[in-house]
């Protein structure tokens, strides 16, 4: 999609692995698109499906869920529960008429900063390809329309 569409996305990270991977990506100065805004949870197991639905309904075009690799969960095995939930969730949103690809599960250990950055980059491209999410009554979309009107008046330097 080359219409300059810049999606806004929410990423849920695990405090022990993927959040630290994000830190590592930073310290190693790996560049990746700014579209994903991260939220820290203690564990991917904390992911309440309503968080994802909330994000999508509130204007996010995609949601990324990240956690420790299977078998490496800081809390022993909770990431498996996250895995199951995400699978169900994908089915649910599909039934709601939303592309399941808008929700993505990614494993990233604390050492995989580059990997995480890479995954984020890919996901942003995938969502760009999918285009904006037309969630019924997406408030952000309404907001954007208003802005466009605003922008007509003031000419940017």
């Amino acid at each position: 999609m080359e219409n300059g569409f810049e999606p806004v996305m929410i990423g849920f990270t695990c405090n022990w692995c993927s959040y630290r991977a994000a830190d590592l990506a930073g310290t190693s100065r790996v560049k990746y698109p700014p579209n994903v805004r991260l939220i820290r949870l203690m564990c991917s197991g904390r992911l309440d499906p309503t968080f994802v639905l909330k994000a999508l309904s509130a204007g996010a075009d995609g949601v990324m869920i990240t956690g420790c690799h299977p078998g490496e969960c800081h809390y022993l095995e909770q990431n498996y529960k996250a895995m199951r939930r995400v699978m169900l969730l994908k089915r649910t949103i599909a039934q709601m008429g939303i592309e399941p690809e808008r929700v993505k599960l990614v494993w990233a250990s604390a050492a995989e900063g580059i990997h995480l950055a890479h995954e984020i980059t890919n996901f942003v491209d995938e969502i760009k390809a999918l285009g904006p999410l037309d969630w019924p009554t997406a408030p952000r979309r309404r907001a954007l329309e208003e802005i466009e009107q605003l922008e007509v008046e003031e000419v940017p330097a």
Partner: protein, 680 residues
């Protein structure tokens, strides 16, 4: 601004936002002044009363700035936009509490690691920073004052494994005046070190330095030994573990036994000792593994004892001067209450039979490193004589093979780290005691420790021949004259670039170290994690090598990977220090990130009960509701997410906080809608 999802609005907050330049780390990419200005202006209606930027928020000046505002401006919440919480969360929380604000009312958002360092476009970076602050502001509104959890620490410590690492830990803790239980699977403590002859690089005799420590453990008033015992079950949490231990039947009444050894002497049944003598020596059916065993009491091996086989003999019973033999004895289950646990269960030796081309088990004169240690040991089956499998012939030439089962993707990828020095030690012992020509076959010589390379030099001076090449095969199939009756080591001499066949009388395989066969079960039992290879995982490989992700469970020695004796001892002491510091604190304060169940809302469906990996959730049969043991709870939040009634809330990560942060990040909270980031 929506307040759905039954979220509890915390009245009108006074929020301070602090944007850090971090020198140019942030300010070089993010327009920090604009971000601060914007926060005040756009988020004012959300409670932001102050928004400042500062060169270094973490500096004492920066912290004082926050403290000042809390006092003067009566801030009720603080948001710091700087680096990762994993670096400075504590710093700013402490600053808050100094100013009298509950530390948990402070939120740190990482615009360095997540914005300035990973984004090149300044405009976009600035926009993303705004969004993240907006998210933090919304989140912090739903923060609640928290107090760290206090748990009392039981003074006793359990140490699993009586090798040198465990012994060191036990003595350190006991000498600090605290009770220690040490559980050992074998009849005696001592571990692998007790099997060794000399120790590299100093060549002091293992027994001479180990046995004093062993007897110290045996006689220490604060140490209670449980040998011939294994941990059966572990319950509880840091400070308050309940451990069940199975003490296997010794068939010897230890109160009466004097360890005189007459029973051993009189026992008619001789069996191959596949444990302590690793199969190259014999022992009786009633035995102590070795002379200096601690405790001194023997054990009756009921698989080989004639009485247990045929119901006759009882020679030991007849001759025991104190009637200490008790064939009726049974396993005993012992329950201990301890505050901390140190796992020092050590390693297993790589099974050299897995490499058939090296001939171990097929070719008589191929020995493993442990077999050689026993042979070289003055108390071993050959009284220290280095001889071939026939029991008397002294070898004229010996080949020592490095990296057996290590640095090999067919077996173990890792380097076992002790084999080089061990092999050099073998080379020295062989030439010293037999004058035989010694060959060392190596891929790389790794001698990084103190005085290690000096020892290598010494062995070179002793005219041991070094062949750089991983041995291809050891065979008795002759090819050339002079090979008859020899073992032929076939190898590429990679420095000469030629294939060589070197006939020797004896081959010693420096087998690598592997995790204990049952490492996975043990890890599960104690609620800690293993690497893919099976070594226990440290809390932090560099900065916290003896702690695990499970509070109160520490690791020492080879459980976390191959180590030599000094390193294992150092870890034993380190683990002890960690334990003692916990004990000294009397109680431990834990992050109050915990789940709790609102009784009124709990339907008693028990869905959460099985979800908890720490069994922190119990079901109250009377009230028909589930309840969470906050000390057991580690705060992962899985139950919170799963509760269909929404009865479980997770402090620090409540639904309200996360949902608010989502709205904030998506800029739904602005009076006039935000301009979305548009990268150029």
């Amino acid at each position: 601004m929506s307040t759905e999802n039954g979220r509890k609005e915390n009245g009108r907050e006074r929020i301070g936002v602090y944007v850090c330049h971090c020198g140019t780390n942030i300010a070089g990419v993010v327009d920090v002044k604009e971000v601060a200005r914007w926060s005040k202006e756009q988020l004012g209606h959300r409670g932001v009363v102050i928004a400042r930027d500062d060169k270094f928020m973490c500096s004492s000046l920066g912290q004082e700035l926050i403290e000042h505002d809390i006092k003067k401006e009566g801030l009720t919440r603080v948001v710091v936009a700087a680096c990762s919480p994993h670096l400075h969360e504590k710093t700013f929380r402490t600053a808050c509490s100094r100013a009298g604000l509950n530390p948990y009312l402070c939120e740190l958002t990482s615009i360095r690691e997540q914005v300035s360092w990973v984004t090149s476009d300044k405009k976009v970076a600035t926009e993303k920073s705004k969004a993240m602050i907006s998210g933090a502001v919304e989140r912090v509104r739903y923060h609640e004052p928290l107090d760290p959890l206090k748990v009392p620490i039981n003074e006793s410590t359990l140490i699993v494994g009586g090798g040198i690492a465990g012994i060191q830990s036990a003595l350190e803790i006991a000498n600090a005046g605290h009770p220690v239980y040490i559980v050992e699977r074998e009849p005696s403590i001592g571990g692998h070190m007790a099997q060794f002859d000399k120790t590299f690089p100093t060549l002091d005799c293992a027994a001479c330095i180990l046995t004093p420590r062993m007897s110290e453990v045996g006689t220490h008033p604060n140490i209670h030994m449980l040998t011939w015992s294994e941990v059966e079950q572990v319950d509880g949490y840091v400070g308050n573990f309940t451990v069940t231990i199975r003490q296997k039947a010794r068939y010897i009444n230890t109160d009466d036994c004097t360890g005189c050894g007459i029973c051993v002497e009189k026992c008619p049944k001789k069996v191959i000792d596949s444990e302590f003598e690793v199969g190259i020596g014999y022992r009786k059916a009633v035995y102590t593994p070795f002379a200096q065993a601690v405790p001194k009491y023997p054990v009756i091996d009921d698989e080989n004892c004639i009485y247990f086989e045929k119901g006759t003999c009882k020679a030991c019973e007849k001759f025991c001067p104190t009637n200490a033999i008790d064939f009726e004895q049974e396993d005993e289950l012992i329950t201990l209450e301890v505050g901390n646990i140190v796992l020092a269960t050590g390693f297993d030796l790589f099974d050299a039979r897995r490499i058939p081309q090296y001939g171990y088990g097929r070719l008589a004169n191929v020995f493993t490193s442990l077999e050689f240690e026993r042979m070289a040991n003055a108390a071993g089956p050959t009284e220290g004589a280095i001889v071939m499998r026939d029991g008397h012939t002294v070898p004229e030439s010996v080949g020592i093979v490095h990296c057996v089962g290590s640095r090999d993707r067919n077996y173990n990828n890792y380097c076992s780290s002790i084999c080089c020095m061990q092999s050099l030690k073998f080379a020295h012992l062989v030439s010293e005691r037999t004058g035989a020509q010694v060959y060392n076959f190596y891929i790389d010589i790794r001698t990084p420790g103190k005085d290690f390379d000096e020892f290598y030099q010494r062995v070179l001076e002793e005219e041991t021949l070094f062949v750089r090449g991983k041995v291809a095969e050891v065979t008795d199939a002759t090819r050339l004259p002079g090979e008859e009756g020899k073992l032929i080591v076939q190898v590429e001499d990679t420095l000469a670039g030629k294939q060589r066949r070197i006939p020797v009388d004896m081959v010693i395989l420096s087998a690598g170290l592997e995790p204990r066969r049952d490492a996975d079960d043990v890890a599960r039992q104690f609620g800690i994690s293993c690497s893919s290879a099976g070594w226990f995982t440290e809390k932090h490989p560099k900065l916290d090598p003896v702690a695990t992700m499970t509070e109160g469970v520490f690791i020492a020695g080879c459980v976390s990977g191959p180590k030599d004796i000094p390193a294992s001892v150092a870890q034993g002491s380190a683990a002890a220090a960690r334990v003692v510091s916990y004990i000294e604190q009397g109680e431990l304060s834990l992050e109050p990130v915990r789940a709790s169940i609102e009784e009124a809302m709990c339907s008693g469906c028990r869905i959460c009960n099985d979800l908890c990996p720490y069994n922190a959730i119990d079901f109250d049969e009377q009230l028909m509701v589930s309840e969470i043991n906050s000390a057991l709870c580690q705060g992962c939040g899985t139950c919170v997410a799963a509760c269909p009634a929404g009865a479980i809330s997770g402090t620090g990560f409540s639904d309200a906080q996360v949902l608010a942060q989502i709205e904030g990040l998506l800029m739904l909270n602005l009076e006039e809608p935000a301009v979305m980031a548009e990268p150029v």
